[in-house]
């Protein structure tokens, strides 16, 4: 579907050579601007963090990572991110399916509401969770009666992360589902395949890479999320202190090397995932 854009040079042969020089210069200038823009604003900060984290080499890094609570915070963040990514993969696909395939009153509204987490500040989500599950609210009291504490437990972290990452899988899967030909599914059904088998054999292979891309995006967002988490998590080392909040705490203490080491570690994981997501999305577009 996507037209592979032709390299610019090939078509400029039509134009006279002085124009060609100007065009080439213009292209180089634009390319330069792009590199300077991203180099100064993106690469420089990352370089600063990595340099700070590694300092004189790997020993600085491992020494910095030995700060009490670092590994516990990273583990907690990885565990909650995995749980949230899994929940989001299932629920996000379900939501996309419901929105695309079913007609029911409120469908358009539902489709709009799914984008809410992209619009509302993450800190505001945190404040809202505090209000909603506080001990004086209806839900808080109900949870209390069941013996479940929400605020200041890993449950609050998972809840906050599920909320802010809710659109990621939906928005990845929805367009693919829209383009999917329902005739294939009908054919499978007429041939006697159960609905489950139809889904597994026909639908899922088509949306698989979209689901994975959304899930990876969710995961890497969870590794970095702080706004929605900081007020509701309780920040107990090894229990509810997530890695981003830990980095924030270290930064507040002026312990830049330690903060940068933890940050570098998280960034490494996250960047690989984001690149993978990008690749998956690309491949999908090419294969269409």
């Amino acid at each position: 579907m996507s037209i592979a854009a032709q390299p610019i040079g090939s078509r400029n042969r039509l134009v006279g050579s002085p124009h060609r020089t100007v065009a080439v210069l213009r292209h180089i200038a634009l390319r330069g601007a792009a590199f300077v823009y991203l180099g100064a604003l993106v690469v420089l900060p990352v370089a600063a963090i990595i340099t700070k984290g590694f300092g004189d080499g790997f020993s600085t890094f491992s020494h910095a990572m030995a700060v009490p609570g670092a590994w516990a915070a990273i583990r907690l963040t990885l565990v909650t991110a995995t749980i949230v990514a899994a929940i989001n993969a299932v629920m996000g696909t379900t939501l996309a399916w419901v929105i695309v395939r079913y007609r029911f009153p409120g469908r358009r509204v539902l489709s709009t509401i799914v984008d809410l987490p992209l619009a509302i500040p993450t800190l505001v989500w945190g404040v809202m969770i505090l209000v909603l599950y506080g001990p004086n609210s209806v839900l808080g009291k109900a949870a209390d009666a069941l013996g479940v504490r929400v605020l200041f437990t890993p449950l609050a972290i998972v809840l906050a992360l599920c909320t802010v990452t809710l659109p990621f899988v939906v928005r990845n899967v929805q367009p693919v589902l829209l383009e999917l030909d329902e005739a294939e599914e009908e054919a499978a059904a007429t041939l006697g395949a159960t609905r489950r088998a139809t889904f597994r054999r026909v639908v899922f292979p088509a949306i698989r890479s979209a689901v994975i891309a959304g899930t990876l995006l969710t995961f890497s967002r969870c590794l970095g999320e702080i706004g929605s988490v900081i007020l509701v998590s309780g920040n107990r080392t090894g229990h509810t202190l997530t890695a981003p909040v830990f980095i924030f705490s270290l930064t507040s203490q002026f312990r830049f090397a330690e903060a940068a080491a933890v940050a570098t570690f998280l960034f490494a994981i996250s960047f690989v995932l984001v690149l993978a997501t990008s690749r998956l999305t690309k491949r999908r577009e090419v294969s269409e």
């Binding site: 700060v67 009490p68 609570g69 516990a72 505090l130 506080g134 001990p135 004086n136 808080g140 605020l151 200041f152 309780g234 920040n235 107990r236 080392t237 090894g238 229990h239 509810t240 202190l241 705490s249 507040s252 203490q253 002026f254």
Partner: protein, 357 residues
């Protein structure tokens, strides 16, 4: 250019961008006043404090000082205020947040700023060694004290929910744990003999193990307690006083022993010089040591006395009970030793926090 672009987008962008740029240049004009010293028409003082004394500074002391300064010079100075965890605040100042005067929870945080070369005078030479307010460590409990908490050993009971801030970010948290440690080592805590370091360490681990949330500042911690979380909050006496003043049902329990909490104030002279407000900054700090300012502190529950003996006696008739065993940081060997024993990476408190949960 297409019409929709020229007609709609361009005017919209201009309408937003022009006032914005005007505002930017205006705001950068008064922030970048470093280098040569020319006093501004309206002198501006940036004041950075720890998280809890907002009720006294913002509502009482700063307005009173502004009025006083206006009487004296004819100009009302402008104040920019910042309140956050003491240690965080100190780091922000070191990193260049530009505060002219700092009011922090404990002396080592001021020392951090002095060590960075921003405070060049000996700030402890001021009256009361630079301290302007004082308090003690208390337990903020639910109305009627349903858990029957009387001293530190009661906080070690399994299943209790405790709130105290993060000692790495909050000065109040460090005061709390110093008070726990001092009380235990001085034999104030039932069941723990004097100078039994192993028992004191166990108490530290047990109490810290019951903490349900290490918040970034004393205020956030008490906020969470008032939101209904936990059974007890370890906090400043003044926090319970301000909560009561706000009509909240907080109730203070006084353990037998408490450290005398002393809160220092200092002019960050490098910044004040750069901003050309040295006179104003000094005058403000002097004002904090006056009787008038002390009256505001007392009204708001901050000031016992900067004299340890008087502080211990308190003022029982007015809601400041006597403390049976009041000790100072120096009684425990001073901040350097306490930092080493409790708050270094291998310190007893740091380890307890790392193992909690």
């Amino acid at each position: 250019m297409p019409r929709w672009f020229t007609r709609r987008i361009v005017p919209l962008v201009l309408a937003i961008a022009l006032p914005t740029l005007a505002a930017c240049t205006a705001s950068s004009a008064n922030t970048s006043a470093s280098g040569t010293c020319t006093p501004a028409a309206v002198p501006t003082l940036t004041f950075a404090a720890y998280s809890t004394p907002r009720e006294v500074y913002d509502a009482k002391i700063i307005p009173a000082f502004k009025a006083m300064w206006k009487d004296k010079t004819g100009v009302e100075p402008q104040f920019f205020e910042s309140y956050t965890g003491s240690t965080t605040q100190a780091q922000n100042v070191v990193n260049g947040s530009g505060a002219d005067v700092v009011a922090l929870s404990l002396a080592p945080d001021i020392q951090t700023i002095a060590d960075a070369g921003l405070i060049t005078h000996d700030w402890t030479q001021a009256p009361d060694r630079g301290m302007v307010s004082s308090s003690v460590v208390v337990f903020d409990v639910r109305p009627g004290n349903p858990k029957g908490i009387t001293d530190w050993n009661d906080l070690a009971q399994p299943g209790l929910g405790i709130l105290t801030p993060d000692p790495a970010q909050s000065g109040g948290a460090r005061w709390n744990l110093v008070s726990l440690w001092g009380s235990a080592m001085r034999g104030d805590v039932p069941g723990i003999t004097k100078n039994d370091q192993a028992a004191a360490t166990k108490l530290m681990n047990d109490v810290v193990g019951n903490v349900i949330s290490f918040d970034s500042s004393a205020r956030t911690s008490i906020q969470n307690f008032e939101g209904g979380n936990g059974d007890v909050a370890i906090t400043y006496e003044n926090e319970v006083k301000t909560a009561d003043a706000a009509g909240l049902p907080d109730q203070a329990v006084y353990p037998k022993g408490s450290v005398l909490i002393e809160n220092p104030v200092a002019v960050v002279d490098k910044n004040a010089e750069a901003h050309c407000v040295t006179d104003l900054a000094n005058a403000f700090v002097d004002f904090l040591h006056t009787k008038e300012a002390k009256g505001y502190f007392t009204d708001t529950g901050y000031l016992r006395s900067t004299d340890p003996k008087l502080a211990q006696k308190g003022d029982p008739a007015n809601g400041y009970p006597a403390i049976k065993d009041m000790f100072t940081v120096d009684d425990l060997g001073g901040w350097d030793q306490l930092d080493q024993t409790l708050f270094s990476d291998n310190g007893i408190a740091t380890q307890a926090v790392a193992n909690a949960g």
